[in-house]
């Protein structure tokens, strides 16, 4: 067995070892290397308890034996190999399973509450512990997307988008557990599939099957906007059906040729939308114009943006998760492609606190935890679902959520390394 010269280093202050080259067997795997580090640490510090490490060779996770990895990556074995080691990300532990009455179409969670939209035409509010708190019923059709707008003490604003072409802005008081529909946002002529609130919580954007993006004001008022009604329309009937005051969009962004499947705010002035017309478009909310368009070759189901690494992750119908740089001018530059799913990628979400990690859900019933430094294989497969996964979310408190067609919302506790947080 041949030997390699390797030097270990880490960013983690707790696990620093001497900066000297070691000769290690070329065929050693992650576990062997991890044992080596642990031995070294024990030699330094008798009170060291065993920690599992992962290793990075030139920014790529080591997944096979060292020699094979270096062979495939084309790294010379003659020189001293720089091996970075990080504490291994432990597997997300499944915590709660929240049963719904119907398929879960969407989920949005913050530190305290979980909001889910379901195909039973309702949205639900859950506590983080998995307790059903509130059922938001009001839509006449399937709730396709939900979003928290703002939390102001005990009062929260939340949004539900539905297939009945409307969005509802609700006001929910968590203490009294009172829910009130404040506004009914009308204007779309197709099923509203996506909604996203801006970072300030004053505006939100919706994307619909009618190919339009609309920007709305998220500030609840007591006055209804004027709606042009057709003359022959039976006005009375409408009034009785309506929940809350009618609200009209501030702005309509049109440009997509197909249904809009996902929207998000990059920052307070930029909206990004993914569509079935194989493009991701970045819009300027101030002017209402399109800034850039990223062209793919397949339908985009979902996008997610990470302010940490300023990358856009997209899930599309060809099983790939692609990473984009939304600021590129030339349009279609795929930085990286993460391929492991075997079905459409229906949901993708960046980790809020880690610049390399993201989670994805697919129609192949799997939720996968990825690290962009290991693009060939995901870190973990979360195979809890028995049917299609439609939505995933990741809270800053380290909770991962996924819901799908098996009516279950799973939550996983993800033990983010303290050192990694904010890295």
């Amino acid at each position: 067995m041949s030997q390699l010269q390797a030097r270990f280093f880490t960013e983690d202050k707790r696990y620093i070892v001497d900066d000297v080259p070691f000769s290690i067997p070329a065929g050693s795997e992650v576990q062997d290397l991890s044992n080596v580090i642990n031995k070294l640490l024990e030699a330094n510090n008798a009170s060291h308890s065993k920690v599992e490490f992962d290793f990075l060779v030139r920014g790529q996770f080591l997944r096979t034996s060292l020699s094979i990895h270096m062979d495939t990556e084309g790294i010379s074995t003659e020189e001293v190999v720089e091996l970075e080691y990080v504490e291994r990300i432990t597997a997300p532990e499944p915590e709660e399973c929240m049963m719904h009455d119907d398929w879960i179409s969407s989920v949005d969670a913050d530190a305290e509450w979980i909001l889910t939209g379901s195909y039973d035409k309702t949205a639900r509010i859950w506590s983080v512990e998995g307790k059903a708190v509130m059922t938001v019923a009001g839509h006449t059709d399937v709730v396709k997307d939900v979003a928290w707008v703002k939390r102001d003490g005990l009062t929260s604003l939340l949004l539900t988008a539905s297939l009945d072409q409307t969005l509802l802005l609700w006001e929910w008081n968590s203490e009294r557990n009172k829910l009130k529909a404040r506004h009914c946002c009308r204007g779309h002529t197709g099923s509203v599939d996506a909604v996203a609130t801006d970072p300030t919580g004053s505006k939100f954007c919706s994307g619909s099957w009618d190919k339009m993006l609309k920007i709305w004001s998220a500030v609840p008022t007591d006055e209804a906007d004027e709606v042009e009604e057709p003359a022959d329309r039976p006005r009375k009937k409408q009034k009785t059906q309506q929940l809350g005051l009618t609200r009209t969009p501030l702005m309509t962004l049109s440009g997509h040729n197909e249904a809009v499947s996902s929207v998000l705010w990059c920052d307070s002035e930029e909206v990004c939308s993914a569509s079935w017309d194989h493009t991701i478009r970045v819009w300027d909310v101030e002017t209402g114009g399109m800034k850039t368009a990223l062209t793919g070759s397949k339908v985009f189901n979902c996008i997610s943006y990470s302010p940490l690494c300023r990358r856009l992750a997209s899930g599309s119908t060809d099983r790939h998760i692609r990473l984009w740089d939304p600021r590129t001018k030339d349009g279609s530059l795929v930085l990286l492609s993460l391929t492991s799913h075997t079905g459409w990628v229906t949901a993708v979400k960046w980790a809020p606190s880690h610049e390399h990690q993201l989670v994805s859900g697919s129609l192949d019933n799997l939720v996968k935890l990825w690290d962009t430094r290991s693009c060939k294989a995901p870190l973990y497969d979360l195979a809890a679902h028995e049917d299609k996964v439609f939505c995933v979310d990741w809270t800053e408190s380290g909770l991962m959520l996924s819901g799908g067609a098996d009516n279950k919302l799973y939550s996983y506790r993800y033990s983010a390394c303290q050192t990694d947080a904010g890295a």
Binding site: W103, S105, Y119, V142, Q165, T189, G190, S191, W209, D210, E258, A259, S261, W276, S297, K298, V299, N301, T317, D318, G343, W344, L363, K388, F390, A405
Partner: protein
Amino acid sequence: MEESSSSSTRSAAQTHKIKEKEPQKGGKKRTKAEEEEEEELFNFKSKSTEEEEEDEDLSDSEDSIFSGLEDSGSDEDDDDEELSDDGDEEGLDDGELKLEQTQQIGIETKKETEETGETEETEGGRTEKAKQEDEYVHDSSDEEDIRNTVGNVPMEWYRDFPHIGYNLDGKKIYKPIRNKDELDDFLDKMDNPDYWRTVPDKQTGSDVVLSDEQVQLVNRLQRGQFGDANFNEYEPQVEFFSRDVMLHPVTNRPADKRSFIPSLIEKEKVSKLVHAIKMGWIKPRRVEDDSRGRYYDLWANEDSSILARHKMHLPAPKIPLPGHQESYNPPPEYLFTDEERALWEQQDPCDRKLPFVPRKFSSLRQVPAFSRFIHERFERCLDLYLCPRQRKMRVNVNPEDLIPKLPKPKDLQPFPTTQSLVYRGHSGLVRSISVSPSGQWLASGSDDGSVRFWEVCSSRCLKTVQVGGAVKSVAWNPNPSVCLLAVALDSVVLILSPSLADRQVVLSSERLLSAPQEADANEGAGPVTWSETEGEELNHGIRLKIQHPKAVQQVSWHAKGDYVASVMPDHSSNLQVLIHQLSRRRSQNPFRKNKGLVQCVSFHPVRPYFFVGTQRSVRIYNLVKQEMTKKLQANSKWISSMAVHPGGDHVICGSYDCRLSWFDLDLSTKPYKMLRHHKKAVRGVAYHRLYPLFASASDDGTVIVCHGTVYNDLLQNPLIVPVKVLRGHEITHDLGVLDVTFHPTQPWVFSSGADATIRLFT
């Protein structure tokens, strides 16, 4: 010494003279040569005699000779005569009888030889005498006889004269007086014993009695023997030139100088030849080409240039070259083992792999004659003669060249490749599916009596409508401004308003359905009853019921969305196709005649044409002119389905005999291309609205997606490439995929199967 040298010179002079005479004498040459020969002979003879008599007559003869040459003594002749007489007389001393006899014989012979050889005789006699004196005396003819100077003339000329010539002095030599008559002669003959050897001398006219030696000589000559009795004819031969190299050369003559010097003549000749070669007058002899013609190469390939002359020449197949098995000493593995041999013997001669048994011989010498040689040659001849050889017009084409140059499927993307979603919910086989024009909804009709509406992107069944009968066909209204679905079941066509669209759209479709019913007046006459639904059915979205007289198999919308055609296959009726107008609630039967069992109908997407697929053909009718414009022959037994290209110029037909035929309407009424990729009956075909794709569904459980680019250029034929076989449906009750349809905007294909599922391939 002097004498011999002089004699040699004389003889040389004599021969020279003879040579000079040759041209003069001409015809006499022969006789002259003979004479000389005889003369020689006599000379030999005379020599011998001379030597005997030398002692006696030496001086005389010398004298006479010299006198004859130098000074001609008058008495010379006499002396000569006297001498001869003397000689005779001396001889007579020995025996007179002899002389007489010879004289007598001489007389006789004289008579005999008077005509022929008189001169010779005389010559002989004369020379004889001359030689007695000196063998070199008469080297020339002039000096032949010095006694009589008349020369060599016939003596008859002197017959009438008293003399016979002249002597050297010019005096007449008189004939001896012969007064003997015949009686005397006779007596003399009787008395004289030497008569037979007495010979008259012509020159002198006297009788000469031949001596014994002379008689012997004559006898020998007459017998053809050599004149000299002592001459040994059979002396041992000395071989001068033999194979033995002798010590001494044959001639001791030194080699000539010229034999050491290059010959000038030769040099001249050579230079002439060289010049001629240089000038090209002489060409070097051509080297005979041995390669062709002399030997026939049995194994050679026949020359194609020769074959070209005989157009239909068919070379006889060559006998294969003998292999190791035919060897007299084959390697041991070729020899038969006992079992092989037994097998060989058991086998029928025609079944044997080898026509002989390989045998081993220690040397070629021991190989026996091949007993079957004649037989085999005969068989070969029979083969060549009886088996007709015919020229096969075989085309040497690489099979790969026959495969049309098609682009790779990879280059023809996008097209559906993998199964993405399965729409589960039906409990019976799903006969028909249809996608809404927006691409958001999918409607399916099943044998379980329900119509389901699915959300395409999530495979969620949002709505189920129980229609109370096996659904044969569903069709979404292609007009995007209305949202209606036509459903065919049993003998009813239902118009459903699923209200899955914008409120405006739903309203406009409501408006279309609740149009003024002006057609009520002739409603009774028509075969069709229109009725609005109520209560429960209305709540489910069923808006209109169009009751047909017979079972409806298929419904098909016009692109504008106002007309819907329904098909009621029937062999015996002309009422097979009905076209309904929704806005006026009117139905009409466009055909008066039954042209065959109608399978499927379709409207032209742009122009007022109507496609009617019957069992074997597709008829295209112009709806405005109300006439048939074209009839497409499908070359298949039973058309099952039909789809019209969104451009309207191409039609594909699936048939129950596993074929898919593509028609180019501008090209021909025959199929432009037949695709036989399916193993079982083709149940459904579909075109994509935007992408150059078409698909066919078959009972073998597969959907085959083909790329079909249609060019605007009329000269360019459509490019049809099968790109993908999509599998997923399970075959239940021998039925596989029943219907296939494309997503209106994405390159996705939906298929519905007998396994009660609908699948989406992307």
